[in-house]
Subunit: 344 residues, 4 copies
């Protein structure tokens, strides 16, 4: 079968690979109908994630079950399904507490030996371990452009809002309007935020945010703190979602947030960095971060997608053939699209 | 000044009453611009609530501050305000925990000696104790038809959803589409329910529910259990809101709700009644009830009203003059309106 | 092997049964070292639970792993283990939310075809499905008298307290001092209740409660409401745990509990019954019930047992040989013991 | 009356000051029977807090109500009371949410103009604004050595545990065994932690921790990470309380804490500092900090003190006369005592 493989920083290529086979009674094999290119894929593309040359990449996918092991009970061959970007065992200490993103045996699709040696989904077929936890049936009538978000980007936006403990009527600020930030802003509105300030420097992204009901604020040409203050009698945002992952974003987030509010870092931090702990402490802000618990969220995310309460389809700005993956990665790297979907 | 007074079961009349005066440093006096007739007023009208003849009734109100005591800091003369249906002291054991609805010194407007001897708001003016807790400024540009709901009916719908601990993506069933049930259904949608089944027997009410995005289900001509089941893979509703307050409604609520779900009784129960404890226990359902904590909710409710996330204006089906209160009560008793607003 | 089997109401006998064999890769087989007789076993003994003649009963157990399937990773042959009274699949809708007690595929040991046809543990050996979720290693040095409680009775007491959302410093009332009530009282104290009123009519049980620090109150010879009131400035208990499961207990629980408090029904309800909904509503009490989620709780329960924060060993009032099971059931039925442990 | 006043860094003196008078209907005046010297007082003593020369300092106190304004209803002249270290208005946005520590009108005793110009309690008498919120009656038979902790140090330890959302059975690490750290360790045990590691470098403090049941660990001579790991199958502490307030403590806290655990900074941070955001993010740790909400906690804290579940009396290592305040401050500065109590 055809598969998109990492070769070297800046180089991906489409190659022939052996078709996957069931290895365990809980496995399934999915014929891929659509697979996304994601910001995390760019980390690999940039060589910032260690991965073996020739490894199949990709972790967003919609498709049809071709085969399933004996222990799989929730999906069956012929089912149209979407999947989560990582697996979980379902029985370790973390899984038993519903913290599937911290599963001691978790594997991430398309990230090489570091994250469990699980071949990616930018391919004609993919092997899905522990299919009962990882896969869900696509609701009737849902396009792959929408369904594909449930197992990664929208699940991550959902996580940001849920984990922040946002309350009905809250004022929310979202820093960074990449796909995750835009999805988080949508979820915040759907969850009953009275106002969502969507903050970025890119006009097109601010326009997308405006289109679904957020209040766009240009980070440098406008004054985000003044905007948030005037909506909150000077208190600041109840919740700020940092979808950037950068010390300046964190500093801004702490400044925008009210006393006893929450800063939710869904953007990735990987190093030591300076944090204004004095201000954070004085304001008694709660700071949370980390990867999304997509397996825990995929059911309600799908329900909200099916009901149209959130709609990521406006983020899909380009469709390409799987065979054009090299060009797709290059275009995504040039930020020419919010989301590119590849079709095998 | 003119005021609507209870005289006897089935008899209210508009009479002259002395204008209120500040009695305490935390009091305010409000000139009423709009005041609602509520289901609770009907309980008085029907003689089911003990109240003195000649007592001024009513507890929903929007108006302008005429005077405020020295200790009042959050509103000032000239401010356009709305108020909550009851007062709270702010310092007793319950208030310190934010349980203002259980304040040991709470008084309810227009309910006679039983609930604190506080004259009602269906009058040209009203005395508002502890104004800093009870009043809020009306957001710019908000009509009195909308603002009036914040301190009572929408606050009650909000309470039903909030107290039920409804989660993003939940499927919710609302039993009984009077004003409170309709507001609860709106809040559930605004809070991110993926689907809200609105259940009643009155076609007009089902139509209103459909108009704002709920799924109307006729209680007897359709099959609510089947509807809820089919949306939840047979599990049942995550949350059921009983806005009726009747043993049959409670039985239905328990039957509609999934294992480990919640039944929220916002409809009033006043007596011993048969409950299917066996089914409730088997399903491990959480049952909650009681009056709404409107003072705790009024800020987020106003924020959501101002943002248009909930909109009760479609429930206001009639406006009348305060002097026509007798006719208004009679019409409301004949169920000719969902909400009547009186203008002094 | 020898096993205790149900024959007819009032009749159990010890018979030879085939040794269990691994049926699934996630199974384990345990050689039983100690197995308890529980109140639920009495329901079977009294014929109130439908169960086939000849079925092996019992569901509390400590022992040693003899064999484990290939998919079992958390225990291994030779490990000394205790187990939960029921199984869970780990991947259904409820399991994914940590609601293992509502698992769609759950089976209960020793309860016949109704609850999954899983042979009981009052035997020399037992087959344990999904061993990774159901079994835990016994902490070093813990006696079987203590460990055996983790998978059932102490887990149930723990559930009562946890599910009630008891807070640090709360005043708690426990109605009914059978093993579950006594364990719940211990957990409430360990969880930081400032006072636990332990209410019953049996002097011996009140003495046990006093021994571990609860305040014993005789239900009829003393005045439980007065006792609770005087400890709470008249408010009532923050949490009342009904460990009886009887309409009068529920009525008492509602009366003892403060406004906005919790009534937790860990005692079993199986039928329709009269409930003072008026009082429950007026006081805005939260009512919760249902079976315990023992699989979710077994880790912290074991940690607290190991640390000595709770200690059920004083409830073990008799040890007998498995072969004397008929006599053990008769004695337990005569309430001659709080807990009888059988040794194969 | 005699009062301890700040004069200059390193200089406090006892001077005559006018007796306080009621200024507002919600005020009370308390004759002080015991008043503590606290770590925060040392900040003033060291000149790190801006405060006017001649200002009366101190904020921990037990005494008797001498006079109370008309609006005070919860305490009366003659009542023996203790008080919180700060006041709250009870009606601002934060107070209405129970966030009394963030009250927009809060004043702190003995901290000069910066924190509300409220004279301190290291004096014969003190003026207490909003007495209904700030004061509580001392439970019968409670010594001033114990009661004095409720309004400050034990309230702060309680806050650390409560805010961290510690769960029954958790393993907790406490960094820094000053009075607040020791109180936090006591509260964690009382709240059902299965194990509390108490970490410091001072042998005497480790001994105190051992005396009430914590596991003492020397920060440098032993290996805190190994100790915590071995108690948690390598996961790390569920909750780590940083009672130091120092970048190295924070780094240690993040290292000691398990994935998805909590780090609670009750020690004060005042500046920008380097934080290992990469590790915090990777482990999805929740970081919370800030001053304690003592007014919210004082009721349960008193209940736990009265029940003996926590006992700070072993921290009171010296009693002195108010007139010897200069010597007391010097001794406290030399760390010769965990807590010094002054008697007017």
């Amino acid at each position: 079968m055809r598969a998109v493989t990492f070769q070297a920083p800046g180089v991906v290529s489409v190659e022939d690979r052996p078709e996957p086979e069931l290895l365990d009674a809980s496995d399934a094999i999915v014929r891929v109908e659509a697979t996304g290119v994601c910001g995390s894929d760019l980390h690999i593309y940039h060589g910032r994630v260690q991965i073996e040359a020739g490894f199949t990449i990709g972790h967003e996918y919609v498709g049809t079950v071709l085969a399933a092991g004996d222990a799989v009970t929730r999906v069956a061959p012929g089912d149209r399904v979407l999947g989560c970007f990582q697996t979980a065992c379902g029985s370790c200490w973390f899984c038993r507490r519903g913290l599937f993103h911290r599963c001691l045996h978790s594997r991430t699709f398309g990230h090489g030996a570091t994250l469990g040696s699980l071949q990616g989904t930018q391919a004609e077929m993919a092997l899905i371990p522990n299919a009962d936890l990882v896969l869900r049936k696509v609701p009737d009538g849902m396009s792959s452009d929408v369904a594909l978000f449930a197992g990664d980007v929208m699940g991550t936006g959902f996580h940001a809002v849920k984990d922040s403990q946002m309350q009905l009527g809250d004022v929310v600020a979202v820093l960074g309007l990449g796909p995750v930030g835009l999805c988080a802003a949508q979820v915040a509105l759907a969850a009953g935020a009275s106002k969502v300030f969507a903050i970025d420097t890119v006009a097109e992204r601010l326009d997308v945010a405006r289109a679904f009901g957020a209040e766009p604020v240009h980070l440098t040409e406008e004054d985000p703190k003044a905007a948030v203050s005037s909506a909150t009698e000077g208190r600041g945002a109840d919740v700020t979602i940092d979808a950037v992952g950068d010390p300046r974003a964190l500093e801004t987030a702490i400044r925008l947030t009210r006393a006893c509010g929450s800063v939710q870092c869904i953007g990735v931090y990987a190093e030591r960095t300076e944090v204004h702990m004095g201000l954070l402490w004085l304001k008694a802000i709660t700071l949370r971060g980390g990867q999304a618990n997509v397996i825990a969220h995929v059911d309600p995310v799908l329900a909200m997608l099916a009901a149209g309460r959130v709609d990521p389809s406006l983020l899909v700005t380009r469709h390409m053939a799987l065979d054009d993956a090299a060009e797709a990665y290059a275009a995504y790297d040039r930020r020419e699209a919010l989301k590119i979907i590849l079709t095998p």
